[in-house]
């Protein structure tokens, strides 16, 4: 039996700082994306500009927001306090400065700036991993949820390690040149698939029942997802080093099957829900699961039937990667932010008044209609950008990206407006 415990969440300033900075990076990355059009449409993605953009999006936006959310969610989900709030703050300032330096390093191709900021960025991530690891150590009963989230943290560690090696390789050249591509691909796989997907899986197991008020469902499928997704990632990474197309395809298939089990599990949770009408933001996080499933299936099929070095094939894979970042990871985070930010703000501003006077409900902080328009607009724009990249249609890319920038502004504005309520 779980013993009653008081809330162990840290000061709300900590998650707020990470989330707000992440939102700023989301806007900047979307504006900079406009200039990336020609590079993406030509399949020329291994350039400093794309590296800046991808790190701004993956580290600046997605990782910053999820790390901030984790400082809030880990104590809630696993009933353990964060090991050190102070480390959380130090990490925040270190990562903010080093991320700016890292981007400047790529922008001006300044090797020393790249090296120094890269190392500090790594130290920031190590502080986070240490802080989370020390917090996880206090978990009394490990469940599939904690194992899944812990796996995400392990993959983050591997991503950082390989990222550091890539920076050292780029600046000093410590390893044979032939190792560069497998290291780069492993870095991307561990980061995009391992870190983010395991994290979304793990917290979905907690948040989907919480936001839909579901009870008495089976978590059996989470075990299948857990092992198959690990096998899939390891198979993919092995294929880069052994140059094996069989391992590559098998890896993609394992990931897809794991994702199928995850989707079925979420569907099963929703079948057991008490809340009939789900909030719009949360609905889009659920939609991102279906999109993630489709992207995984397309990835596996593409590897089997038409992976070659033709421009069309390259454009296709870039589009899939883009969809994975934007409609699986970003849409999922965006939807949950419409739940997380109102909750944090309510706790800060109104929780001490609850019971003494009438206070607003969480649904009063954002209009479901506005959320629906904004996230639908973002989803359609993202699909337009992906189509523009795949078809090589510059006009489609620019129109869709401009639309995405506008909806991103609306998204961030709607979230910041919560602080006025």
């Amino acid at each position: 039996m779980l013993s009653p415990s008081s809330s162990k969440t840290p000061s709300l300033r900590l998650p707020f700082q990470y989330i707000c900075l992440g939102l700023v990076f989301l806007v900047i990355s979307q504006i900079l994306m406009l200039k990336a059009g020609p590079l993406l449409l030509e399949g020329n993605i291994r350039t400093p500009y794309i590296w800046i953009l991808s790190h701004m999006l993956i580290v600046g936006w997605a990782s910053m927001v999820v790390m901030g959310a984790m400082y809030q969610l880990v104590p809630v989900a696993f009933l353990v306090p964060i090991f050190s709030e102070r480390i959380g703050y130090i990490q925040f300032y270190l990562m903010t400065l080093s991320l700016l330096g890292f981007i400047a390093g790529f922008w001006f191709m300044n090797k020393s700036c790249l090296l120094v900021s890269g190392i500090f960025l790594v130290i920031g991530f190590i502080l986070f991993i240490f802080n989370m690891g020390a917090s996880f150590k206090k978990i009394e009963q490990w469940t599939m949820i904690s194992k899944t989230v812990f796996s995400a943290i392990v993959y983050l560690g591997l991503t950082i390690l390989l990222g550091l090696i890539l920076v050292l390789q780029l600046t000093i050249g410590i390893l044979p040149g032939s190792w560069h591509t497998p290291i780069l691909y492993s870095h991307i796989t561990f980061g995009m698939i391992g870190w983010f997907s395991f994290l979304i899986f793990g917290f979905s197991y907690k948040m989907v029942p919480m936001f839909s008020l579901a009870h008495d469902f089976s978590m059996k499928m989470s075990t299948y997802t857990f092992y198959l997704f690990h096998i899939g990632i390891l198979s993919l990474v092995s294929s880069y080093w052994l140059e094996s197309s069989v391992l590559l395809f098998s890896g993609a298939m394992f990931l897809f099957i794991a994702f199928v089990f995850f989707t079925i599990l979420v569907g099963n949770i929703l079948k057991h829900r008490m809340k009939r009408n789900l909030d719009k933001g949360f609905t889009f996080s659920l939609l991102s699961i279906l999109i993630g499933l489709v992207v995984h299936s397309l990835f596996a099929v593409s590897l089997r039937f038409f992976l070659n070095n033709t421009p069309l094939s390259i454009q296709w894979m870039i589009s899939l990667g883009y969809l994975y970042i934007m409609l699986w990871i970003t849409l999922s985070i965006a939807g949950y932010l419409y739940k997380i930010i109102p909750f944090l703000w309510w706790t800060k501003k109104y929780s001490h008044l609850a019971g003494k006077m009438k206070v607003p409900m969480l649904k009063d902080f954002v209009s479901d209609r506005a959320v629906s328009v904004i996230l639908t607009g973002m989803t359609i724009s993202i699909l337009g950008v992906a189509s523009g990249i795949f078809l090589g249609t510059m006009s489609l890319f620019y129109i869709s990206q401009t639309s995405l920038i506008m909806f991103t502004f609306a998204f961030v504005y709607s979230l910041f407006m919560i602080f006025k309520k």
């Binding site: 779980l2 696993f78 008020l213 609850a354």
Partner: protein
Amino acid sequence: MCTNQPQFAKEMNHMKVTESMVIEKLKEVYDPELGISVYDLGLIYKILPLDDIVNIRMTLTTPGCPLHDSIISAVEHAVLSIPGVKIASVDLVWEPAWKPLMMSKEAKSVLGHK
């Protein structure tokens, strides 16, 4: 006609606190996520008024509920606002675990159940 306010307050303080008075107050404490009172959600297991002390045994919909502290302090504040109550003590338990069946008809209706 002008009433004697201190006398009125004194009488209120000596009024016996009843379970129904506590229930009435608890119906004003809402789970801000669901928009349903803690009482209608079925989170309140037992109410024990003893003179100026009210003991409440309650649960939450899930262990590690993010609204843990907020809901408990809201319940305490609400009960303390009842005239005559000086101490409100909340005993949070996880056994028996909360089940949707514990909700009132009104709560189910808010969640979209006919």
